[in-house]
């Protein structure tokens, strides 16, 4: 257990077991957590009732709050905040994994239509069996996402196709699925359809402690997945041949990892609806802050994802006031310019290489 330098002269902390943590990743992780806390404090203070972090801390240490302050904090803002972070975490990790196994830096569960696929099956379930239990809904979301993923793999056929073409195919499938969703929405009863259309746009309004409780298993599993497959993903980044040469059983691990990515995204879709662009933005920003691979990359991406969702939600609530802007919408509005920027940077770096 000691501080040493890695091959690229970066400071690294090695454990006895061979696990190593790079200093700049560690610092970035701590920094991101701090940012998340600051944003959380801001988010807790945003709203009609005037209360905030200090009230919350006092409340925890015994002093009382007025009823509406307690309601605003404990029933509205905190669940929303936590839900935002958890959903962002899962979608960002799902995006990072997809980027590695598709070897496409633009992969995103929303842009590839996985989220829309999940929603299609959820809607189908609601039309056919409106009283279905929650677990079945989650299963439907999972199945839908997986179907779209397999369809996409079948359609693009092999991994030699260029990244942009796969992207276009994903967008095409997303168009088909989202218009199917719009049509299916008509078959649901009108009081359900109002709530559904809000959820279709991706919203945090329905956050509650019970929703978070149902979401926590997915969050826990995300850590298990990161530690199981995080190292494998860094070999995927090097290309299939290289990964095989490094002893990665591609045929076995790739389907499992894909299912894991779809599962994380499906869980987020079930809870808050689709968060498009997050899966591509968060890993890029994380990589920009602190280049990493494997587990560190996934963890940092997850942190950035959570921060982005909290930030987008807080900014939307501050700017828009009473306007109930769904989080999916504000992410799209923020995400498109950033995504174009990412494309631009990519094009520039290519030009330099040539």
């Amino acid at each position: 257990m000691r501080w040493t330098r890695a091959l690229d002269r970066k400071v690294v902390y090695r454990f006895e077991s061979g696990l190593e943590i790079r200093l700049h990743n560690l610092l970035a992780g701590i920094g991101l957590m701090l940012v998340a806390l600051i944003l959380a404090a801001l988010a807790v203070e945003t709203g009609a009732t005037s209360t905030g972090m200090t009230d919350l801390l006092q409340n925890i240490f015994g002093s009382g709050l007025s009823d509406d302050q307690a309601y605003a904090l404990w029933t509205v803002r905190l669940p929303r905040l936590l839900m935002a972070f958890l959903a962002g975490w899962c979608v960002a990790i799902s995006g990072a994994i997809l980027q590695s196994i598709a070897r496409n830096p633009l992969a995103d569960p929303g842009l590839f239509g996985l989220s829309q696929g999940s929603m299609t099956t959820i809607l189908l379930l609601m039309v056919l069996a409106p009283a279905a239990p929650k677990i079945l809904v989650a299963g439907a979301a999972m199945a839908g996402g997986l179907c779209v993923a397999l369809l996409l793999i079948w359609l693009v056929g092999g991994e030699r196709s260029s990244g942009l073409a796969i992207m276009l195919m994903g967008i095409a499938m997303e168009t088909v699925l989202s218009s199917t969703n719009t049509l299916m929405l008509l078959y649901t009863p009108s009081e359900v359809s109002m709530g559904l259309s809000q959820w279709l746009a991706g919203s945090l309004f329905q956050s509650s402690w019970s929703l978070i409780a149902t979401f926590l298993p997915a969050f826990g599993l995300s850590f298990a997945g990161i530690f199981l497959w995080g190292r494998a993903l860094s070999t995927y980044d090097l290309g299939n041949e290289m990964a095989m040469a490094l002893g990665e059983p591609l045929g076995r691990s790739r389907p499992l990892i894909l299912i894991f990515a779809v599962f994380l995204n499906a869980a987020a879709v079930t809870a808050v609806g689709p968060l498009t662009f997050l899966g591509v933005l968060a890993p890029h920003i994380a990589g920009f802050l602190s280049p990493a691979s494997g587990r560190a990359r996934l963890l940092l991406s997850g942190l950035v994802g959570g921060i982005l969702v909290i930030g987008a939600d807080t900014v939307a609530r501050r700017l828009a006031g009473d306007l109930p802007l769904p989080i999916g919408l504000s992410l799209t509005i923020i995400g498109v310019p950033l995504f174009i920027l990412a494309l631009r940077l990519q094009a520039l770096s290519r030009k330099h290489k040539h």
């Binding site: 195919m169 218009s179 719009t182 049509l183 008509l186 306007l323 509005i333 094009a347």
Partner: protein, 337 residues
């Protein structure tokens, strides 16, 4: 091509059938009798006849106008930009126009005519944004215009997101525009058609007047120049006319998605690439498709009345998948890149 005339006549016939079917089928029954009487000797006291004249007729007119304009625009765009996925909906024109109309109605309380102007400005803005983004994000070797379509999709998403945000901001506006934004053919928009139809006719005339140079440009700018075509001028005129035609259709009934993408692919095998033959036929086909889609949307899912937009999006999205598969993901492409 000798079969041009039969194709044209067949397209006319399809349009006529679509028109008659659209007007006379309603509430699950054919009402030919009422339809012919409504045309020959209209009796305002008859319920059936007044439904046909005051509700279905305006709908059919709007469908014909929107379909024809969007299809012709798609044809011209695909030909001039030389990209099989180019269409008003994929290049951000529709989304831009819709955003400007909603923003104008919200912030400046625009009247009907001003909304038309806003749609024009928005269409141009969306189109230019798309090109700007494509240039910003452009790849070094991008012979098939992939990044143009991608940036069109991004631009559309962005404008659509802004439009939804604006609609959420104002409940009154939302109820007024919600159907319109998803692309809806409805008789209540008839006064909009009355305000804007001349724009489309004007653009169509302009486009028909320059079919020859436009066809030459399809062979490549150099060849067209050597054939005596002022390429730059024709580009500007043709693209302006296209954007205006599309924007006027959007101003009438909202963004009717993928007609502009689908129709050219149906028409081209029948007529070839010459615009003089392809443009009229695609106008007729576009109108027929919109009429039929309107009929399906109205009757197929009784008692629900669908919006025509999502239905056409579904159709167009499927075709989008096929084109991407065949054009961008075929083996020959992979070998060359």
């Amino acid at each position: 091509m000798r079969k041009a005339v039969p194709v044209f006549l067949a397209a006319m016939l399809i349009l006529l059938c679509g028109f008659v079917a659209n007007l006379s089928f309603g509430a699950g029954v054919w009402q030919f009798d009422a339809f012919f009487r409504a045309i020959t000797q209209f009796d305002p006291t008859s319920y059936e006849q007044s439904v046909i004249v005051y509700q279905r007729m305006p709908r059919a007119m709007i469908a014909i106008y929107a379909g024809a304009m969007t299809a012709v625009s798609g044809m011209v765009l695909q030909g001039l930009i030389a990209n099989p996925l180019a269409a008003p909906s994929t290049l951000g024109i529709n989304a831009g126009a819709a955003f400007f109309v909603v923003a104008g109605a919200l912030f400046f309380n625009l009247g009907l005519f001003a909304q038309g102007a806003a749609a024009l400005a928005g269409g141009v803005c969306g189109f230019l944004t798309c090109f700007l983004v494509a240039r910003l994000a452009g790849r070094v070797n991008d012979p098939r215009g992939l990044s143009l379509i991608l940036s069109g999709a991004l631009t559309s998403m962005f404008f659509a997101g802004l439009t939804s945000a604006l609609l959420l901001a104002d409940p009154g506006l939302r109820t007024q525009f919600l159907g319109w934004v998803s692309g809806n053919i409805n008789h209540v928009y008839f006064e909009r058609l009355g305000a804007f139809w001349w724009l489309g006719i004007l653009c169509l005339t302009v486009l028909l007047a320059i079919v020859r140079p436009m066809t030459l440009i399809q062979l490549g700018p150099e060849k067209a120049t050597s054939a005596g075509v002022n390429v730059r001028l024709i580009y500007v005129v043709a693209l302006t006319a296209t954007v205006i035609a599309t924007a006027s259709a959007v101003a009438v009934c909202g963004p009717i998605g993928f007609v502009g993408l689908v129709v050219p692919h149906m028409v081209r095998p029948l007529t070839g690439n010459h615009f003089a033959r392809a443009l009229p036929v695609s106008a007729l086909f576009g109108a027929s498709i919109c009429l039929i889609a309107d009929l399906i949307a109205r009757e197929a899912f009784q008692p629900y009345v669908l919006h025509t937009g999502p239905l056409l999006d579904l159709l167009g999205g499927l075709l989008f998948v096929v084109i991407v598969k065949r054009f961008y993901l075929s083996n020959s492409v992979r070998a060359s890149t």
